[in-house]
């Protein structure tokens, strides 16, 4: 597993609070037994029904790899299909005001760092990218420093997730299996596992 210490690329400004995972990946696309091809359906209903142009349909942001979102992004359903679609569409980092807990965990396991910063900073970054889509956004996972054009700020991330990315331990299964005897002994000492 690779260490994720630095991500850079063009931005995708996706405005709005409480964008839930039903909007990111509508439920009908969950009728699959693999994650392949999910990127095609990312925000499909929002793109089709929005009266104003959806940023995902805006050619200027076609090559983006850093999505800039507002508060409580990824709330609602625990479907990993949402971050799977985002990663498969070529995104390597998200920068936003806040993320739902389940989404944050699902993204971490896929090696997708989610940075948070205050409302004004995010708004400024979204405006910057809307005006100058060619701007490269540089994200340092280790320090949280984010640079975009003349903008520079320090974003945050829960320490264990940051360390997991930096140490290349963001996909935890091997760690969880590493001392499996300890898992068994916890099972043995739990009354309900032992049958009371």
């Amino acid at each position: 597993m690779n260490n994720i210490t630095y991500v850079s690329g063009r931005g995708m400004p996706l405005r709005g609070n409480d964008i839930d995972t039903d909007r990111i990946m509508p439920a009908r696309f969950l009728k699959v037994v693999s994650f392949e091809g999910l990127e095609k359906h990312l925000f499909e209903d929002d793109r089709r029904t929005n009266r104003e142009a959806h940023p995902f349909s805006d050619m200027r942001f076609n090559d983006a790899s850093v999505m800039i979102v507002n508060a409580n992004f990824g709330c609602g359903s625990s479907r990993e299909h949402a971050p799977q679609g985002i990663v498969r569409a070529g995104y390597r980092a998200l920068v936003g005001e806040s993320f739902s807990e389940i989404f944050l965990g699902n993204s971490a396991v896929l090696g997708l760092p989610c940075f948070t910063a205050d409302h004004d900073t995010i708004e400024k970054l979204q405006t910057l990218v809307e005006k100058a889509p060619e701007t490269t956004i540089e994200c340092n996972v280790e320090t949280g420093e984010i640079k975009a054009g003349a903008m520079k700020f320090t974003a945050s991330m829960p320490t264990p997730l940051r360390d997991a990315f930096v140490q290349g331990k963001w996909d935890p299964t091997l760690m969880l299996l590493d001392k499996f005897d300890e898992v068994r002994s916890v099972g043995k000492r739990l009354p309900y596992v032992a049958g009371f």
Binding site: D22, V32, C75, E80, Y192, V193
Partner: protein, 462 residues
């Protein structure tokens, strides 16, 4: 030292601190279903991993099952393929699976408690955000994604971070026509859909103390809609009475030992909390959502707020400062893991009895499990709904998320006892959902518009 149930359960299940700083937490019960597990099994096969504790894993199908006819093969080819895939995976790895031809089948969050699988003091994980439901028994139950389903299958554990605990006390008597659903909608309205991020919600107070397990499940179920990954109620005599005699509940000498352990896991009287909130039950009205997230709600006698979110108003086609009462509906849906249990059906039946569904309304009653359906049929409740013009369906998630043929069409408005009013949630990208209690859905189905169930209760002779 005085402590909360959350910390006691966490400590009892902690395996170790991982190099990343996360906690490796033992998972006592893993519930799986057809939508979020197929890729997890594929990942196991790719790595040559086995299922660590197949006997602590239970599977069912719920999300994609049709509710009109549940005969196999399902007409929907993809639904059939997902079911076959789960059958194959469960067989290969030795996991118990409940299919629609078995009495145990139903929505995963309905059958876990019903079978006595869900017990106090446990950690429970499931690839579904409404796993918080099981917290009603004093378990720490969390929704997870597919890669984490793989982790639990492979290691019976998760890499997680601890939550803070917010104690929410609801005190006093709920007024007639006000239900658990109104309580949780009011909590979410007050604390916001982001208010619970980073927290587990501990619900208590005299109102919760008096509630049945069904009602407590409705409350815990929607914790996630308030941003809280887990929500729970401390186990008490109501909890134990519910569990006694259930298929997988302890019995004989083990029962007394279990009750003693369960009691010991409850939060201590003088436990300290990271935050506290107190609500007055008597002040809660029948509540209805007007917007596109579960926090956007009002009491039935209130108007949509003057400062209502313009995006939500535009999507719903509503105006600020107008009443929600009187909003014409097209569809009425009673069911889901929030409100698809026997007491929900009973309460709705009291309202429906002797009335007819308005001519322009399509009304669905979808029991949460086969056992719930059977119990309702035994009591003749199904006939009350059928006589009124409801469709009486088979068990499943149905129109809560519309992964089966039950969907809204176009901009239809649905009075729904489910949990999410997100844009497009009920299957039409422009469909509109009004969340409310099952009794309020029943009232709306009859009136053909959003109505105040309290007036219908007054009309029923005692």
């Amino acid at each position: 030292m005085a402590d909360t149930l959350f910390h006691k359960v966490w400590d009892a299940h902690k395996v170790r601190t991982l190099a990343s700083g996360q906690t490796q937490l033992f998972i006592g019960l893993h519930l799986i279903h057809e939508v979020t597990s197929p890729q997890a099994f594929d990942m196991l096969r790719q790595h040559g991993w086995n299922v660590a504790f197949p006997e602590r894993t239970v599977a069912t199908i719920d999300h994609i099952v049709p509710t009109s006819s549940q005969k196999r093969p399902f007409l929907d080819v993809m639904a059939e393929e997902m079911t076959v895939s789960l059958e194959r995976n469960c067989k290969e790895f030795g996991i118990k699976l409940y299919l629609p031809d078995q009495m145990e089948q139903g929505i995963v969050h309905v059958i876990g408690p019903q079978l006595g699988l869900t017990q106090p003091g446990m950690t429970i994980a499931c690839g579904d955000s409404h796993t918080s439901t099981h917290g009603a028994f004093g378990a720490i139950a969390m929704g997870i994604g597919t890669s984490q389903v793989r982790d639990v299958l492979a290691s019976q554990s998760l890499a997680v971070e601890p939550l803070k605990v917010r104690r929410i006390d609801v005190n006093g008597q709920l007024r007639p026509g006000v239900y658990a659903k109104d309580v949780i909608l009011t909590i979410i309205r007050k604390l916001g859909v982001q208010g619970g991020v980073g927290y587990a919600y501990e619900y208590g107070g005299t109102t919760l103390d008096r509630m049945s397990m069904d009602e407590r499940m409705t409350i815990c179920n929607m914790s996630i809609e308030g941003g809280a990954r887990a929500g729970y109620v401390n186990p008490d005599d109501t909890t134990f009475a519910y569990l006694k005699g259930r298929k997988f509940a302890p019995s004989g000498a083990a029962w007394d030992k279990a009750v003693a352990w369960w009691r010991s896991m409850a939060s201590d009287k003088n436990a300290t909390y990271d935050d506290r909130v107190v609500l007055d039950a008597a002040a809660i009205e029948p509540t209805v959502t007007w917007g596109i997230n579960p926090g956007q709600s009002v009491g039935i006698s209130e108007q949509i707020p003057a400062n209502a979110d313009p995006e939500a108003l535009a999507y719903m086609g509503f105006d600020a400062k107008t009443p929600i009462r009187g909003t014409k509906i097209d569809v009425a849906f009673i069911g889901s893991c929030t409100n698809g249990r026997i007491s929900d059906i009973e309460e709705a039946a009291k309202i429906v009895k002797g009335h007819k569904v308005a001519k322009h309304v399509k009304a669905l009653m979808v029991p949460g499990s086969r056992e719930v359906a059977q119990e309702a049929e035994k009591r003749g409740l199904h006939q009350v709904f059928i006589d009124a013009g409801f469709e009486w369906r088979g068990a499943g998630c149905s129109m809560c998320l519309a992964m089966n043929p039950d969907k809204l069409e176009g901009r239809q408005v649905c009075a729904s006892s489910s949990n999410r009013n997100f844009k497009g949630r009920q299957g039409s990208p422009t469909g509109r959902t009004l969340l409310m209690s099952p009794a309020m859905v029943a009232a709306a189905a009859i009136a053909g518009e959003v109505a105040d169930v309290r007036e219908m209760i007054e009309a029923v002779p005692a």
